[in-house]
């Protein structure tokens, strides 16, 4: 097609004009791009530089080493043990199934754990290690290491995990650690970030929980460079954390183990306290459990067994359970009466076996009655009527005040879980809590430690120590934190009349040294370590008038959980008190039969620091005691080898 030259020239002019216009627009746009570049890179550079650094740098916490727990002699109660686990990195393993198949021929793999690990591998980034077996033995680790070439991506890793070498002996005292739960996090307003580290463990009960802040330590941190998917490219710098503080307890682990063995499978508790400074030398609750199971994650079956056991192994009976103190409370009533000046030690009361108060008949444990009773006789033989009479004279308020001075109804924060206050009732309490008026019968019941009165074995031991010394001694369980001794508290006098205390002590001496004393059967005949004590038998059921008419059913004929609690408190040596002991055997029957022998054995063990010479026991008991000592030695040795030796 031919075109007129004019047409061509005109169109060239037009194209040129528009080309120039468009060129101008293009240059303007390029200029705008340049300005935008300047805005981003020059004006906002600092801001973006900061954001880039935030992207790049990640702060990772280094978990601190948990503080260890020792007994008073330096024996270890809670240790950090290396624990080995096997991890697989997916991207290094190649064919994961193959590798796991080969691994399972070397190491026993748990089906559930393996499935969980495979699921985790699917979800997480391919470069992150996933644990396939935890707490494997050193032998397994060696086998894996030797076969490393056949196991690409498999790495044995070592970490620290909590181990309790004394197993059940300190389960209730030291407690155990476990993984951090949502509830643990909810307890803190601003949780320590270290709690978010996977696999981090914190104290769940006992000293481990109550001294968590001391034991945990401070996390270290490392700054690492990460890429967009979180893979660590390199470590930039690191600051080591502070390990947790070591704790030393006042408990003597040898005595504690002895007590646990002595209590055996009884549902019982024992507290041994140094009367001078309040150090708790032994504080045992039985039956016990192995805290190591909880660290590893206890199985549902094992936990169910502990939970459903009617002897309540999980309960820390020494501090969290409160029992009616029964006759062990009589010292309180007697002291209150003497302090009020309402009774003289040699004044007598006639015990016909019962007493009418407010139209109700209150019985003495001895149906036939004790006859004429003064203070010493009534305590020695545990006459109830004598105390009913005292109670009517002094009233509940004075009794309650004296009980509190002796440490009953008080919380002692010794560092264990769920320490109970017990209960020392008075008129205000009943009105506030029970919405009822205080009746005279309540006072009568309280005078012999029944009715509303409740106290824990720890409180009974404190009471005994205070009676023995007349000072406001307070129990101490944690001796030092990180080598810094915890201050002793309460050495001052309680302000009781020393003569009155002496009367009480003499009566308590008679309990276990006079032929008519309720604990005479459990006396110590070594003059250097004679003890003073008081038995108690507290009812857990009401005895109806009909039953009383029929004759009270004997404990042996009742189902276990309906039997009386057996109690015994004592201190020794009588003339120079060093230790106070309280024993409670749940549903043990009579205090003199079930609790006092344990009190004696524990007292002697504590004072001699080992099996006492048989000469301390009355001659007729010695054969039986020797057999018992040999049997317990065997039990202790067996436990020892189970516990992998004493570190």
């Amino acid at each position: 097609m031919r075109r007129a030259p004019k047409d061509t020239a005109e169109s060239i002019r037009k194209i040129s004009r528009r080309g120039v216009i468009l060129g101008g627009v293009q240059l303007a746009f390029a200029g705008a791009l340049g300005l935008r570049m300047q805005h981003l890179q020059v004006d906002q550079a600092d801001e973006f530089r900061l954001l880039a650094e935030e992207n790049r740098i990640n702060i990772r916490l280094i978990p601190p080493t948990r503080g260890q727990i020792f007994d008073r002699n330096g024996a270890i109660l809670a240790a950090n043990e290396p624990s080995y686990r096997i991890t697989i990195v997916r991207e290094d393993a190649g064919n994961v199934d193959d590798v796991i198949l080969r691994l399972s021929s070397l190491v026993e793999l748990d089906e559930d754990e393996l499935n969980r690990a495979l699921a985790e591998m699917e979800r997480s980034a391919p470069f992150l290690p996933v644990t396939v077996a935890e707490r494997v033995t050193w032998e397994d680790i060696s086998r894996v290491a030797v076969n490393a070439p056949a196991l690409p991506g498999v790495t044995p890793e070592v970490g620290l995990s909590r181990f309790y070498p004394r197993r059940g002996d300190f389960a209730h005292v030291v407690g155990y650690v476990g993984p951090v739960s949502e509830r643990d996090l909810a307890r803190y307003e601003t949780p320590d970030p270290v709690l978010r580290i996977p696999r981090f463990q914190i104290g769940k009960v006992g000293i481990e929980a109550r001294h968590e802040e001391d034991l945990r330590g401070r996390a270290g941190a490392k700054r690492v460079e990460v890429n967009a998917v979180g893979r660590v490219m390199r470590e930039l710098d690191r600051r080591e954390g502070t390990p947790g503080a070591d704790l030393q307890l006042t408990v003597d682990s040898k005595l504690q183990s002895y007590i646990q063995a002595r209590l055996g499978e009884e549902s019982a508790s024992v507290v041994v306290m140094d009367v001078q400074n309040g150090d708790l030398l032994g504080i045992a609750s039985s039956p016990s459990y192995d805290p190591n199971k909880f660290v590893r994650g206890i199985s549902v079956a094992d936990f169910g067994e502990l939970r459903d056991n009617d002897h309540r192994p999980l309960a820390s009976k020494t501090v969290q359970d409160a029992y009616p103190p029964g006759s062990t409370f009589k010292m309180v009533t007697a002291l209150a009466a003497m302090d009020a000046g309402l009774v003289a030690p040699d004044e007598t009361v006639w015990c016909p076996g019962h007493m009418e108060v407010g139209g109700r008949r209150f019985h003495c444990w001895k149906r036939a009655g004790h006859g004429h009773m003064n203070l010493e006789l009534s305590l020695r033989e545990s006459c109830d009527v004598y105390y009913y009479d005292l109670a009517l004279k002094v009233g509940i308020d004075r009794i309650a005040a004296t009980a509190k001075r002796l440490g009953l109804g008080q919380v002692f924060p010794i560092g264990m879980s769920a320490v109970t206050q017990g209960l020392i009732p008075n008129k205000e309490w009943k009105r506030a809590e029970r919405d009822a008026d205080w009746r005279i019968g309540d006072t009568v019941n309280a005078s012999i430690g029944q009715g509303y009165v409740l106290s824990s074995p720890l409180q009974l031991a404190v009471m005994t120590a205070r009676l023995a010394t007349g000072t406001a001694v307070e129990p101490r369980l944690v001796r030092s934190v990180d080598g810094v001794e915890k201050a002793l508290r309460g050495g001052e006098s309680l302000g009781f009349n020393e003569n009155h205390l002496r009367q009480i002590r003499r009566a308590m001496y008679a309990v276990s040294n006079n032929r008519r004393g309720t604990a005479y059967g459990s006396r110590i005949i070594d003059d250097a370590v004679r003890m003073a004590g008081k038995t108690g038998t507290s009812q857990v059921r009401n005895i109806t008038a009909a039953e009383r008419a029929r004759g009270v059913t004997r404990n042996e004929d009742l189902p276990w959980n309906r039997r009386d609690h057996a109690l015994f408190v004592n201190y020794a040596p009588f003339d120079n008190p060093r230790i106070a002991v309280s024993v409670v055997v749940e549903h043990g029957g009579g205090g003199s039969r079930a609790a006092a022998p344990i009190g004696r054995d524990v007292t002697l063990q504590a004072l001699f620091g080992d099996d006492p010479p048989l000469e301390a026991y009355p001659a007729k008991d010695r054969d039986r005691i020797r057999e018992q000592q040999e049997r317990l030695q065997q039990v202790l040795r067996a436990n020892d080898t189970d516990g992998r030796g004493r570190a």
Partner: protein, 379 residues
């Protein structure tokens, strides 16, 4: 003097043509590609593989193609315009066909040694066919409605095929490139003004409809627009990439963080760091100075194209050179707007710098056409 005689006498022939090649343009192209290879080396963590080396080889091939195309007289290429368009269209349909057969959305045909994207080919073929069309069309008919509809159809047919792939970025480039070709050819202002007004009115109406009964876009589509307008509203979702891209640019500062020291790209915070977002790597590692230098190189290419077009008295050549310049401009302008957060992310590579074979070869062929038009211009 006949046209042929004139041509034979004035147009250089044989190896002498080499002297008349627009050498500054060749230098500029090489410099830009050099920057690209340097950046590909950097984002691979200081390695020629997997990107820098293939890119280098393709550039060598592209350079050879450019010289071959440049040696062939421009009137031959003018006669091939319609053919080129039809071949590109056929390939687009073929891709459509293969894509539907078995491999899902597919933009390329595997040639063994490289993957050819017919949509890239179409960008040049469209410039050629439109230049040819307006070279053929008498001047007085250019703004006639019928003769305006024909190129609109030429533009929209491949655009529709590309959109169904789907490849929004290329579709935008095709429409914009074709439209600007019509503008250059002298189509009346009123058409563009009307289109512009309709476009603005349409967008305004769409936004006005938001939250009313007659809402024109779905809620999620509005949210996408929100994310583009304010990436920080969704920093870990759709706004993540653009936020990271801006952080990479911004953290470069004046002089950059140094060669291979860009943490955003090295640690993979930057998406598509070897293709669409390669400019951010450059800006992070060489700063404002580096980014500006590349922009100036691009602008110089534009200027050389415009000057060359103005020197050329042949209508086809002039339109072709300007069209290729505009296509090139659209490439880098859309890409840079996108990576600087000025436009939504639509997937347009940075010409000669982003890793990719088809785009590189097609651009080199296009500049071969520019050279051919330059060498064989009427004197």
């Amino acid at each position: 003097m006949s046209y042929l005689e004139y041509t034979v006498k004035t147009v250089p022939a044989g190896w002498r043509k080499m002297l008349f090649i627009n050498w500054p343009l060749v230098v500029l192209l090489t410099a830009i590609t050099g920057v690209g290879i340097l950046m590909l080396y950097s984002v691979a963590g200081g390695s020629m593989t997997p990107w820098a080396e293939p890119q280098l080889k393709r550039f060598a091939l592209g350079l050879a193609l450019m010289f071959i195309v440049a040696m062939v007289p421009i009137w031959f290429w003018r006669n091939m315009s319609v053919m080129a368009y039809l071949v590109a269209l056929a390939l687009l349909i073929a891709v459509e066909f293969f894509g539907s057969v078995g491999m899902g959305a597919q933009r390329w045909i595997d040639l063994g040694f490289m993957r050819l994207q017919p949509s890239e080919l179409m960008k040049i073929a469209m410039v050629m066919v439109l230049a040819g069309y307006y070279d053929w069309l008498p001047m007085k008919r250019v703004s006639h409605p019928f003769w305006v509809l024909v190129p609109v159809f030429i533009i929209l047919l491949p655009t529709f095929l590309v959109l169904t792939q789907p490849d929004l970025g290329t579709a935008i480039l095709l429409v914009a490139g074709g439209g600007l070709m019509m503008f250059l050819a002298g189509v009346h202002w009123a058409y563009f003004a009307t289109l512009l007004a309709a476009g603005i009115g349409g967008i305004y109406t769409v936004f006005l409809s938001r939250g009313t009964d007659w809402q024109l876009l779905k809620d999620y589509q509005f949210r996408r627009i929100d994310t583009f307008l304010d990436p920080s509203s969704d920093p870990l979702g759709a706004g993540y990439h653009i936020t990271q891209a801006k952080i990479a640019m911004g953290s470069g500062g004046w002089t950059g963080r140094g060669f291979m020291q860009g943490t955003q790209s090295r640690l993979n915070f930057l998406p598509e760091k070897h293709t669409d977002f390669i400019f951010n790597t450059l800006a992070e590692e060489f700063g404002f100075i580096g980014g500006m230098s590349l922009l100036i190189l691009y602008v110089l290419i534009l200027i050389f194209c415009i000057v060359s077009a103005l020197q050329n008295r042949d209508r086809y050549s002039s339109l072709l050179i300007l069209g290729i310049g505009v296509t090139f401009f659209l490439f880098f302008a859309v890409n840079m707007s996108m990576v600087m957060g000025l436009a939504p992310v639509v997937g347009v590579p940075l010409p000669l710098v982003s890793y990719g074979g088809s785009a590189m070869l097609v651009l080199m062929i296009a500049f071969g056409l520019v050279q051919s038009a330059h060498i064989h211009r009427p004197r």
